[in-house]
């Protein structure tokens, strides 16, 4: 299977219905996972799909008790192997264990039982046939959670550009060693708990969309650290920062949009597909809809989406399709606007001017706000009144951030409560 070769492939993720994930329910859960993977593969085969990617995101309980998660993964992966042998449908597995390190408060990032459990499932999963391993890592999230509802860009830049970037370096160095040592590919990370939380809160009208748009862009420098430390892609589906990663590094990427509406509503339903190599449903539970189980529904939808995009590519018109996907969303929401290919290149050029994740983060934030202000002026982007005032508010926040990272860190260490995070865990 070639990922990133100009064809777009479906990536299906499924999860349990509402139930307690415990030792008692493990046999039931295993049964459900077996039903889910069989349903998905059967439908993919019926729809003449040639290749499919399965993502298994473990539940926190299944990472915390890694043997449970390993047993679930093995069932799913073995079913995929068998199905390929019997029916010729190629499939690859992306295994995404949870980042449990935040379960200590303040989080313990570089040791302890949670990290040990994670390391165990990463290694054994890779040995059991997982092809790609991913994570949604949480370094800095412990202070970003409060920043996000305050639309506090200063703290967010500290969380992503200082703490997150440092954690990514440590984490991906270690993950790459574990994963490649077990014969699999370290795929990528996602700023899900940062930028996607912002996106979801913005969709609910809780925080400004311009804030969520800036959050998206300032998660890029953090994401680059994973690649610098061994991640090779395909980038994880919910990481919209992938678009920038692809522009900067050429790594293949997965993305999700309208067909992931089962998992979260989105202002970037089409534009997300514009440069994707894999097209995902993010996650769907095994609940029954009128047609059948929801994971099978997602599978069908993704396959048809991919068929259409692949036909355009076959006709040599991939760029036409890309432009339509972009135009369909980019004028309607700042979060879509920042994913326009021209904007992505402009911001990416700015980011690569520095080697420092902090400087990259700060200048990406500043440029993003400039670009949004310019887009509004040019009439290319319509923002509500209350959104517009936030462009200036956020610019004001940036002006107060020192250009020197050490000065900034010193300031933030004074401002922030160390009951919430441990500077030492980030080496600061």
């Amino acid at each position: 299977m070639v990922i990133g070769g100009g064809q777009i492939l479906p990536e299906v993720n499924f999860t349990l219905p509402a139930m307690i994930a415990s030792e008692e329910t493990l046999p039931e859960a295993q049964k459900i996972y077996r039903e889910m993977i069989n349903g998905v593969l059967r439908r993919a085969k019926e729809l003449h799909a040639k290749e499919i990617i399965i993502e298994l995101e473990t539940l926190p309980q299944y990472t915390e008790n890694p043997e449970w998660g390993i047993s679930i993964h093995k069932i799913v992966r073995d079913t995929m192997f068998e199905f390929e042998a019997n029916h010729g449908l190629k499939s690859v597995m992306r295994l995404t264990p949870n980042d449990l390190r935040e379960m200590n408060r303040p989080p313990v990032m570089r040791s302890g039982k949670y990290w040990d459990a994670m390391a165990r499932i990463f290694e054994q999963g890779a040995r059991d046939g997982a092809d790609f391993l991913s994570i949604e890592s949480t370094g800095g999230k412990e202070i970003n959670d409060e920043a996000i509802v305050n639309a506090d860009l200063r703290t967010a830049i500290f969380a992503l550009g200082c703490l997150g970037a440092r954690d990514m370096a440590w984490l991906w160095r270690n993950l790459t060693e574990i994963i490649t040592g077990a014969g699999a590919f370290p795929a990528g990370d996602s700023s899900c708990g940062f930028a996607n939380t912002a996106m979801v809160l913005a969709e609910q009208g809780f925080i400004p969309k311009v804030y969520a748009a800036v959050m998206r862009v300032i998660s890029v420098p953090r994401a680059l650290v994973a690649i610098e430390n061994g991640a090779v892609g395909p980038g994880k589906d919910c990481a919209y920062e992938n678009v920038f990663l692809k522009a900067i590094t050429g790594t293949p990427i997965s993305l999700e949009g309208k067909t992931a509406a089962c998992a979260h509503f989105s202002p970037v339903g089409n534009i997300a597909a514009a440069v994707a190599d894999c097209w995902s449903n993010e996650s769907v539970q095994q609940v029954k809809l009128l047609s059948g189980f929801a994971p099978v529904v997602s599978t069908e939808q993704l396959i048809y989406d991919c068929r259409l995009m692949n036909i355009a590519a076959e006709k040599g018109q991939a760029l036409t399709m890309r432009d339509w996907l972009v135009e369909s969303d980019c004028y309607l929401d700042p979060q879509a606007y920042v994913l326009r290919p021209d904007v992505v290149f402009e911001i990416s050029n700015e980011i690569v001017k520095s080697q420092s994740p902090f400087v990259r983060t700060l200048s990406a934030a500043r440029l993003t706000l400039d670009i949004l202000a310019r887009a509004v002026e040019k009439g290319e982007l319509t923002l509500g009144r209350r959104e517009k005032t936030w462009v200036d508010t956020l610019r004001g926040q940036i002006e107060e951030i020192p250009q020197d990272e050490e000065v900034f860190i010193a300031e933030m260490k004074k401002e922030l409560n160390t009951r919430k995070y441990s500077p030492a865990e980030y080496g600061i």
């Binding site: 509402a18 307690i20 926190p60």
Partner: protein, 220 residues
């Protein structure tokens, strides 16, 4: 006149000004309950309504909430000494196994804005803690939050703890969070459900108002 100024300062999120105005109002001999209800709580009502009408965002509401808190900090000793009770007392927490706090924090903040006293147990709260805290502070309402479909079912374990302790009837138990539905809330025997943070606050407030007249709590 100065009560309106307090309201305006809370709405604008001017914590310092609120403090000064509250101190001035007390010196002027304005009754503390008037300052509380007419100044602080009233302003947060306006702010909450603006939020519901999509006129402001949460960050703006939080600034106002902090301004209100600043004023409340000055009033509280006076309220206690004069025997004025809060509009109600609420225990809130995220269910065991669940680490999510953003939604729960919003509900807590909005509840405070209605004048209720809110005790936040944090995240990953053991079932029994809800009972202990509710009993310890003679709460009116217990709010339980969950974000994951695999932690939501654990909410069903909390209510039996109240039953076992023989105190189920003393509390109005509300549940909420992304995966929670009205049907689920009913199924586990919760008294209340809200699909989002502002409705949670509204529903809780309505309950507190209606129950006040019934002089419901023998132990409080």
């Amino acid at each position: 006149m100065s009560i309106e100024a307090i309201s305006a300062a809370v709405e604008e999120g001017q914590a310092k000004i609120v403090k000064n105005l509250v101190n001035a109002a007390i010196e002027d001999g304005i009754p503390v309950t008037d300052i509380l209800n007419g100044g602080l709580i009233n302003a947060m009502g306006v702010v909450g309504e603006k939020f519901r009408q999509n006129e402001i965002f949460v960050p703006e509401m939080l600034i106002a909430a902090r301004a209100m808190s600043a004023g409340l900090g000055i009033l509280e000793p006076l309220l206690t000494s004069s025997g004025v009770l809060p509009t109600g007392t609420v225990v809130i927490g995220t269910v065991k196994g669940d680490l999510h706090n953003i939604g729960k924090n919003l509900v807590a903040m909005m509840l405070k804005g209605t004048g209720a006293t809110v005790y936040d147990l944090g995240i990953d709260v053991p079932d029994q803690r809800f009972v202990e805290k509710a009993e310890a502070i003679a709460a009116d309402i217990v709010c339980i939050s969950a974000l994951l479909t695999t932690t939501m079912p654990a909410m069903g374990d909390v209510i039996p703890e109240f039953e076992k302790a023989g105190v189920r009837e003393k509390y109005h138990i509300m549940v909420g969070g992304a995966p929670v539905t009205r049907a689920f809330a009913r199924a586990i025997g919760a008294d209340g459900y809200a699909p989002n943070a502002s409705e949670a606050a509204t529903t809780a407030k309505e309950y507190l108002l209606s129950s006040k007249s019934k002089n419901r709590k023998s132990g409080a």
